[in-house]
């Protein structure tokens, strides 16, 4: 059995766990804990402390694993471990919380430093009224026009599929360009 993996990362409460839950064929193995910080508890009750783990069986011989990183900064020692051997990664950002954009940018740079694999950025919660426009998010994150920034609703399977497919297309394109070893 061959296995490959992708990593879903992003700031606290960006929607990483929901993203994986939407497409995983198993219940996401989530290591969530109640949040101790009062400020963060105002955003949500529980957070991922080690990782989320989802699975998509491709065929008898191939399985794709999706790993979600812990969102809180104090667990960032897990990031490098999770990034080892990934095909590519997705940076999730909550479009309704511009105060997290700077952290998203930092996470993006950190993962780029870990491994030169393709990545896409998913602007989550685009169904919410107070979500920033996708191009505004691009400017705020200082993303190069060549970086794929995709509108996303992590609870919607079709939306999640689109993001995963765009990442796979990027991986394929990079192979065609001969960058990938």
């Amino acid at each position: 059995m061959q296995t490959v993996k992708m990593v879903v990362t992003g700031p606290f409460s960006a929607g990483k766990t929901e993203f994986i839950q939407s497409v995983s064929e198993i219940d996401v193995v989530s290591t969530e804990r109640k949040i101790s910080s009062r400020g963060e508890r105002a955003v949500k009750e529980a957070t991922t402390v080690a990782m989320d783990f989802g699975r998509i069986t491709v065929d008898d011989d191939l399985v794709l694993y999706l790993f979600g990183t812990p969102g809180q900064k104090r667990f960032d020692f897990m990031w490098e471990i999770l990034s080892e051997g990934m095909l590519g990664f997705i940076v999730m950002v909550d479009s309704t919380r511009p105060e997290t954009y700077r952290e998203a940018r930092t996470i993006l740079e950190t993962f780029r430093a870990y491994a030169p694999t393709p990545y896409v950025v998913a602007a989550n919660k685009q169904d919410k009224e107070d979500a920033w426009d996708i191009e505004d998010v691009r400017h705020a994150l200082r993303l190069d026009p060549k970086v794929k920034l995709l509108p996303c609703v992590a609870t919607d399977r079709d939306s999640v599929k689109k993001v995963l497919l765009e990442l796979l297309y990027s991986i394929l394109a990079e192979m065609d360009n001969g960058k990938r070893k």
Partner: protein, 271 residues
């Protein structure tokens, strides 16, 4: 109980605050990133500071402060390296080369510079040796800690923000290919120009810092400014091997890798 621990848990600024409030006498020894610093205090005032393996004798301090010319410095180091700082200071004052105030101000600045460097050390074991003071042949100053503590707090905040923005200095920089962006029309300081002259995807930010002899804090400050101005972007250094040590694909064969990605695409589409 001995004052000891790790800067990860208690910052240098917090230690200074404690020494100031408790009016401590002794030497703080900090094992920072690749170097060890010793900072001595008498009744809560900073009296001397040095980094191990870095010259901190009076001649070096005065040369750094541009109070001694290169030739004078060379002559002293060749012929007078055996004499103590106090003797050298007296000789220079008596010879009319320098005033006592200049000597004290230069040593103060040397101590402040070391403290500023230590503000950026985020990790490292420290211990405070009660009543241990610099050797008698060293000239001591008396520096109030309040200003240092305020400056340290300011730098710490700035450092944390800059680390968030530029987490790794192992990455390189390249100029953004943007119409209208022209360096000639932008006012840059001498330091910024020095950094700009090294910007090339082949040079990591760490290498640029080394070449320009800048601290991590200073190089981050300048790069942050260039990033904010939209002049440069962070890229992986060209020619550098991928960091990922573990293979992404279970096979080395390119065609099999492509086939695998296509199988993934088909599967995701069918979900």
């Amino acid at each position: 109980m001995a004052l000891r621990g790790n800067l990860r848990d208690i910052t240098f600024t917090q230690i200074l605050n404690l020494i100031n409030l408790a009016k401590k006498t002794g030497t703080l020894i900090v094992e920072g990133p690749g170097q060890t610093a010793q900072v001595s205090f008498r009744e809560g005032k900073l009296v001397f500071a040095q980094i191990e393996k870095e010259e901190s004798n009076l001649a070096t301090v005065l040369n750094k402060a541009k109070k001694l010319s290169a030739n004078q410095y060379r002559a002293i180091m060749q012929h007078g390296s055996a004499i103590s700082d106090k003797e050298l200071g007296l000789m220079l004052i008596n010879a009319g080369y320098i005033s006592k105030a200049d000597i004290l101000l230069s040593i103060q600045q040397h101590c402040v510079d070391i403290a500023h460097r230590m503000f950026t050390w985020m990790e490292g074991f420290f211990r405070f040796e009660n009543d241990m003071l610099p050797p008698d042949n060293r000239i001591n100053v008396r520096l109030d800690l309040e200003n240092l503590i305020i400056e340290g707090s300011r730098q710490l905040r700035e450092w944390e923000q800059l680390q968030d923005e530029i987490p790794s200095l192992d990455m390189a920089l390249k100029f953004i290919d943007r119409p209208g962006a022209d360096l000639k029309n932008i006012n840059l300081s001498v330091e910024e120009w020095r950094v700009v002259s090294f910007i090339n995807p082949k040079n990591s930010m760490k290498q640029i810092a080394h070449a320009t002899k800048m601290s991590d804090l200073n190089i981050r400050r300048i790069i942050y400014g260039l990033l904010q101005a939209g002049l440069v972007e962070i890229v992986r250094p060209s020619g550098q091997a991928a960091v990922a040590k573990i293979r992404s694909f279970p096979t080395e064969n390119k065609e099999e890798q492509k086939s695998l990605v296509n199988r993934l695409i088909n599967r995701i589409r069918s979900l």
